[in-house]
Amino acid sequence: MTEGAPARDLGPLAERFRGVVGAEHVITHEQQLATYESDGLLQYAVTPGMVVLPANAAETAGVVRACHDTGTPWVARGAGSGLSGGALPVEDGVLIALTRMRSIREIDLDNGRVLVEPGVTNIAVSQAVGPTHFYPPDPSSQIVCTIGGNVAENSGGAHCFKYGFTTNYVTGLELVLADGSQVTLGGPELDHPGLDLIGAFVGSEGTLGIATGIWLRVVPKPESVRTLVAFFGSTVQAGEVVSEIVSGGIVPGAIEMMDNLSIRAAEGSTNAGYPTDAGAALVVELDGSEAECAARFEQVVEICEGAGADSVRVAKDDAERELIWRARKAAFAAMGRIAPNYYVQDSVIPRTRLAEVLGRIEELAGEHELQVANVFHAGDGNLHPLVCYDGGRPGEAERAEELAGQIVQVCVDAGGSITGEHGVGVDKKRYMPSMFDEPDLSAFQRLRCAFDPEQRANPGKVMPTPRLCGEVPGPYRRHPLEQAGVAERF
């Protein structure tokens, strides 16, 4: 609780919630509340005042309206698998868990559309439209993460270089706004008239409202999938191969890189057959039509061999393909073999700056006497540097955090972003000013205030410092330094 602020009495609100969703779906018991104190980023924990689990849009609207009427802040949560603390509860606030809303309301393969509730898992969408179709965004948590969470975070995944992100697949949203009102944006059709509020809502990290119904595009599965893993002496060498593939006009379904430290960790836990002395592993997957895929795959093999790959392993069947992916997918979890704790970063850089940025990360790691493992989506330059540390050693966690912050800055300076897919949440909001200036943040705030003037939806996330939805500011005036040409705003 904030010092000085009186504890909010949630008793009457709990009573009102029981009337909306039924007593069994309102959690007030301390021990049960503890289940919800963190999302996938365990460094942050806050026990919510109450957890409520609505069954449908009408109940969700009833819950949000009750929060609105009583001035209570709230946080929506799906599976809680996010990695930025985006679903971190607010003390004395309400956590609205959407996991009971799990129905797929419509499947229309002739039109390539589905209508789902927010608690449906990502994988369930692909399963529901298989075996002919699939839903392309595939975050590595896809077995548990929910579509509602994907919409909030604009989730991507290993295949987003070719197929795009959640925002490229959402055509309609049924929303509950912060005042409890219900609004429909778009529908199964694309390009509804008016402003593209869907584009603004996707990726807004739960700060603009709750999506209770989501129209998604689904697409036919590719005819052919081919996968290889090539091993190189260094990440720089592998990075050059990535550039050569992409500039050769090939758009791989996925192209993923691991450095030596991540190879060793992953191999130790999966036995996928990755040589532990390799400097870098590059997984390349092509998909599409049989004829095109075969021709392009040959080109990729040639590029890898021409660039001096130590070895190239081509998957001959689904089992071999699965084995190649197993090591990549296990990389995060396997880090326990390197160090007791790690700090995941999600920075993005222009792909052409890879060698330079990796070199700088290595230098910084040396200066901080810490190890950094690199696992990344190489096609789109989304690095996941894993800063390894031992929280049991005094000062090491702080050193790791400092190193992580410096790595973020290196990526931003190279023309990149502080987050490619995990979101800002609470974890990265302190980095926002390294990427955005005051007028940019103020523009973000205009959107936030248009949707939620009292800022009760997921407060304390995304924006680096709290700010009010105040009076309309007067006309912007240039700073005297700007006017004199001494300083530029950008």
């Binding site: 002739d110 039109n111 390539g112 795009g164 992100f165 925002t167 490229n168 706004l177 609004v183 944006l185 059709e189 694309l190 390009d191 008239p193 008016g194 402003l195 593209d196 584009g199 603004a200 996707v202 990726g203 807004s204 036919p220 599965k221 005819e223 992409v246 500039s247 006009g249 599409g288 039509s289 004829a291 095109e292 021709a295 392009r296 993005v348 850089i349 222009p350 052409t352 789109d380 330059g381 023309g415 987050t419 490619g420 979101g423 926002m432 990427m435 955005f436 007028p439 940019d440 103020s442 523009a443 973000f444 959107l447 248009a450 995304v462 309309v472 500011p473 006309p475 912007y476 240039r478």
Partner: protein
């Protein structure tokens, strides 16, 4: 409309906008003027602010397949520069004299949309001027980025109603080495509808999937690109023939697609947000109105052009096509046709709040959304 101002820097642009706001003068942002008739007319006392003074290709990062363009750059100039590196901005509306700013503000598109998405999907960052004189940036110049709200998507297709688009960062794609197209013809709307759905559901990685209809006859067009387009086009021929269409493969397909793009314009053009299963009904409605249709078969986006519209044409098409929303684009001068299909009142209220939030002075492209906002 009063004299045009053509600021040469984004600071000057923002200052001109702020000065107009202070004076309470409505502003109409203009580029090449290729779609001046699309949005609702400006108030009589509006002044024109042109982006043509901002016409630099700021960055073309060929190795990263990204570019940063000022709003006044013409699509033609940008594409010429990208083509030198074997790349393209995968947006191909009819004509290429439009500016990037106008293209993004109007959300216009062409056949490439089926494969690469629309303007909203290819813009990765944006810099805008708001009516308080501030210049704000969102997104970035990398293709993957979720930091902050995605204001670039909000401004794409906003018809300048929130502020002026000064600069955009875009994702580029490699130019395809070869293309081939399967054309499946029929004079039966149901058969064409079945063909469109079959092509959309098949495991074909198409580069374009279109439908066209005019004078009681039409076709489904499936284009392939890459190093082996012909075998894929042959596979598509089998799919379309199975659906009952008269299908053949064209290796020299440029004219076919140029026609698709050109036919998105007419004396009266209506853009329809439909669905593939509604194709047959749409084709019949088009016949009844004496028009023609082109569009993206699998996306359900169609452009209906009418050569000689009657006063009631728009209304009768709108009711025949319901519940698909329609937007009138090109229209004959002097008509008072309502451009926009009505929306969920809650959505309209929310859009008005967003408009007020970004443009409290209410001067940016006032009237552009007609009675909608």
């Amino acid at each position: 409309m009063r004299t045009a101002e053509r600021p040469a820097t984004r600071e000057a642009f923002a200052e001109a906008l702020a000065a107009a706001a202070e004076a309470g003068t409505p502003v109409r942002f203009t580029g090449a003027g290729t779609k001046a008739g699309w949005a609702g007319p400006p108030p009589e006392d509006a002044i024109e602010l042109s982006t043509l003074g901002l016409a630099r290709v700021v960055e073309h990062n060929a190795g990263d397949l990204t570019a940063v363009l000022e709003a006044g750059v013409s699509l033609r100039d940008a594409q010429a520069e990208f083509a030198e590196a074997g790349q393209m901005l995968a947006i191909d509306p009819p004509g290429d004299s439009a500016t990037i700013g106008g293209l993004v503000a109007s959300g216009d598109s062409g056949p490439l949309r089926s494969r690469y998405g629309g303007v909203r999907d290819l813009v990765v960052g944006m810099r805008v001027a708001l009516s308080d004189g501030s210049v704000a940036r969102s997104g970035g110049k990398v293709i993957k980025n979720v930091a902050g709200y995605d204001l670039a998507k909000l401004f794409a297709g906003s018809f300048g109603s929130l502020g002026a688009i000064l600069e955009v960062a875009v994702r580029l794609h490699p130019l395809p080495p070869m293309t081939a197209t399967t054309v499946g013809s029929s004079s039966d709307p149901d058969e064409l509808g079945r063909g469109a759905i079959a092509a959309g559901r098949a495991q074909l990685e198409h580069h374009g999937l279109d439908v066209r209809w005019s004078g009681g006859r039409g076709a489904v067009l499936v284009r392939f690109a890459g190093t082996r387009p012909v075998p894929q086009a042959e596979a598509a021929r089998a799919v379309l023939a199975d659906a009952g269409l008269d299908a053949e493969v064209a290796e020299d397909d440029r004219e076919i697609w140029d026609a698709q793009r050109a036919d998105q314009r007419g004396p009266l053009t209506i853009k329809v947000s439909g669905l593939p299963t509604r194709v047959p009904a749409a084709l019949r409605a088009v016949d009844a109105a004496g028009g023609s249709l082109v569009g993206r078969a699998a996306l359900g986006l169609w452009w209906i052009a009418i050569e000689e519209p009657a006063p009631e044409t728009v209304d009768s098409l709108r009711s025949a096509l319901a519940p698909s929303p329609c937007v009138v684009l090109d229209r004959p001068a002097g008509g008072d046709t309502e451009a926009w299909s009505p929306l969920d009142p809650g959505a309209v209220e929310l859009m008005r709040r967003v408009k007020r939030g970004f443009d409290p002075a209410g001067i940016c492209n006032a009237g552009a959304f007609g009675s909608l906002l």
